[in-house]
């Protein structure tokens, strides 16, 4: 393997409940085993959400961080120096959820109260869903709530619908009978594994080593669905049913980042721009091009 620069003393990765591959990799210690020969330590830092992972990347607290694709774009647009190098999943982690019998289509949301966390994948999903039927944020009453709080608000009836996120979504679906009335996996923006630009420039060889390990974990996860479920349920303290539901909606088959992902995040970027989360001055396409860097994943897969 190429070692253009001397080795880092340690590599810091995040692990996250929304990135099952990271849980497997952390559990199996393959990266540790591989890097031990170079005397490189591996440090795992938990990330509680895309925005936290970005914060950690931005402050150089981690070298690799897992986020939703749109979140990575947002980060990049705000000057966070990262590169997206790998797709850890194509999840359907978000959908529109309701308990109101009169809401069956996205159009029914007109004038209703909808909970979402701004800037996150569910929010983008909501905006794109609205966009598809010719509605916008102005046609509904968006209630800003953190994901778990959105679920509570939905269950209490404070809001009519909720742009949900797993595992909360799976939980309310299973336990409270909430309905996912609009689903579309293609409007989710994939799970991006990002690396700090500086790290990638200095230690490209180690980026490959990490991705290799990730690949191993991904393959293992596909081959051992039951163990994967056990690991997720144990780590994220989910009931088996919820873990199963979540994994059922997570597609781990294509790791290479590419044009399709770019398209998705550009589309996401456009709605974010319209809703004001991304400033008008930002060239979304440009940012997406800067962000997505498929070379490492292609090398590994190839």
């Amino acid at each position: 393997s190429a070692q253009t620069a001397e080795a880092p003393s340690s590599i810091k990765l995040d692990f996250a409940y929304y990135n099952p591959v990271s849980l497997v990799l952390r559990d199996q210690k393959w990266l540790e085993d591989d890097l031990a020969q170079d005397n490189v330590k591996v440090e795992w830092v938990q990330s509680l959400g895309s925005n936290k992972a970005l914060e950690l990347l931005n402050s150089r607290s981690i070298d690799f961080g897992s986020t939703a694709g749109a979140a990575a774009l947002l980060g990049k647009a705000n000057g966070n120096p990262i590169k997206a190098v790998y797709i850890y999943s194509k999840p359907e982690w978000t959908a529109l959820v309701t308990r109101d019998a009169t809401i069956n289509r996205v159009e029914d949301l007109r004038g209703k109260k909808v909970a979402a966390t701004r800037g996150t994948d569910p929010h983008i999903f909501l905006l794109r869903a609205l966009d598809q039927v010719g509605l916008s944020e102005q046609d509904i009453e968006l209630v800003q709530l953190q994901h778990p709080d959105g679920k509570t608000a939905l269950e209490r009836g404070d809001v009519d619908a909720w742009a949900g996120l797993d595992p909360h979504m799976a939980t309310t679906e299973l336990e409270q009978g909430s309905r996912l009335f609009f689903r579309n996996p293609d409007l989710n923006t994939y799970g991006f594994l990002n690396v700090r630009e500086a790290f990638a420039e200095q230690y490209p060889g180690y980026v490959e080593r990490v991705l290799t390990a990730y690949e191993k974990a991904r393959q293992w996860a596909i081959e051992n669905p039951d163990e994967l479920k056990t690991i997720l349920a144990r780590e994220a303290k989910l009931s088996d049913a919820v873990a199963a539901k979540q994994l059922e909606r997570t597609d781990l088959t294509s790791p290479v980042i590419g044009a399709i992902h770019k398209e998705t995040i550009v589309a996401a970027g456009d709605v974010l721009k319209r809703s004001g989360v991304i400033p008008n001055t930002v060239e979304v396409e440009q940012v997406a091009n800067d962000l997505v860097d498929p070379q490492f994943a292609e090398k590994i897969a190839g």
Partner: protein, 287 residues
């Protein structure tokens, strides 16, 4: 009436004569007061200038810590759209309302548990326990109990305000000089009057500190409050800045918190100073 007390009346001539040879010096406090607030600006301004410089030369990368000028321009653009006024307005409203409610309840409970031993034994342990529950932890409970609208937000802020006011008032009352309390007892003031006419005035210094602490916590709790379904407000701005990763918004809202916090605190502090003019304390002579 004799001339015990020199006023501008008949004997002022005597004073003037005295002044001729020994010019009257105005008390120093006044003179100093005029410039004293400016001294407080030295450090903040120095820090600001340093920060701008270091940003310009690139020591602080803009993605981590944008320059003051960048933040100023963010603030400016928020101002021209009128957004900022809205954010500030609603947050100030929530904090003040929560402050009034929290401080009001704390005054009742603090007076009660400070004054009555039984009330103290009954209520204080529970309140002391609740005191260390973090603002974020209250959020799900408040959503559960009160929903996500203003009631819930204002109540959460009131909770934050409650505890410092309560603690300061309660201990203040317990620390009141027994000698003065006895005077009230001799005049057979009933319990309410004893509290109102002896305990509360005697506790005023501690109470004002409690109010100031409480107000500070009110500003802190507003973030947790505005996590609950707000779409306006400084707390919302801060959290939104965090979720959407915009450091300029984060820092701008922090600065606004600092400035607004300081302003509201100054109001309480100076009201307190006015009320405490009777004090024969170190600072009242010292300044």
């Amino acid at each position: 009436m004799s001339n015990f007390l020199k006023t501008n009346g008949s004997k002022s001539a005597a004073i003037s004569t005295a002044s001729a040879t020994r010019p009257y010096r105005p008390p120093k406090r006044r003179r100093a007061a005029r410039h004293q607030w400016a001294i407080g600006l030295i450090i903040p301004i120095t820090l600001l200038v340093l920060w701008e410089l270091l940003s310009r030369v690139g020591v602080f990368p803009p993605n981590l810590l944008p320059a003051p000028s960048a933040i100023a321009s963010t603030l400016w653009s928020l101002t021209v759209t009128g957004e900022l006024v809205e954010h500030i307005g609603i947050t100030v409203f929530r904090v003040l309302l929560g402050f009034l409610i929290g401080a009001g309840l704390a005054t009742v409970f603090g007076a009660l548990t400070g004054y009555s031993r039984f009330a103290h034994q009954l209520l204080d342990p529970l309140l002391q326990a609740l005191r260390s529950i973090p603002s974020l932890a209250w959020v799900p409970l408040f959503i559960l109990w009160l929903g996500i609208y203003e009631t819930s937000k204002v109540s959460l802020i009131a909770v934050g305000v409650f505890f410092p006011v309560y603690l300061n008032l309660m201990s203040g009352i317990q620390n009141v000089d027994r000698k003065l309390v006895e005077v009230g007892q001799v005049y057979r003031l009933n319990q309410l009057k004893l509290i109102g006419r002896v305990f509360l005035p005697a506790t005023l210094p501690a109470y004002i500190v409690g109010l100031r602490s409480g107000l500070g916590l009110g500003w802190m709790f507003v973030v947790a409050a505005e996590i609950m379904g707000a779409s306006k407000g400084l707390g919302f701005l801060l959290v939104d800045g965090q979720t959407t990763g915009r450091p300029d918004i984060i820092i701008a809202s922090i600065l606004l918190f600092a400035v607004l916090g300081k302003l509201t605190d100054a109001v309480v502090a100076s009201a307190g100073k006015r009320l405490l003019r009777w004090q024969d304390s170190y600072s009242s002579h010292h300044q």
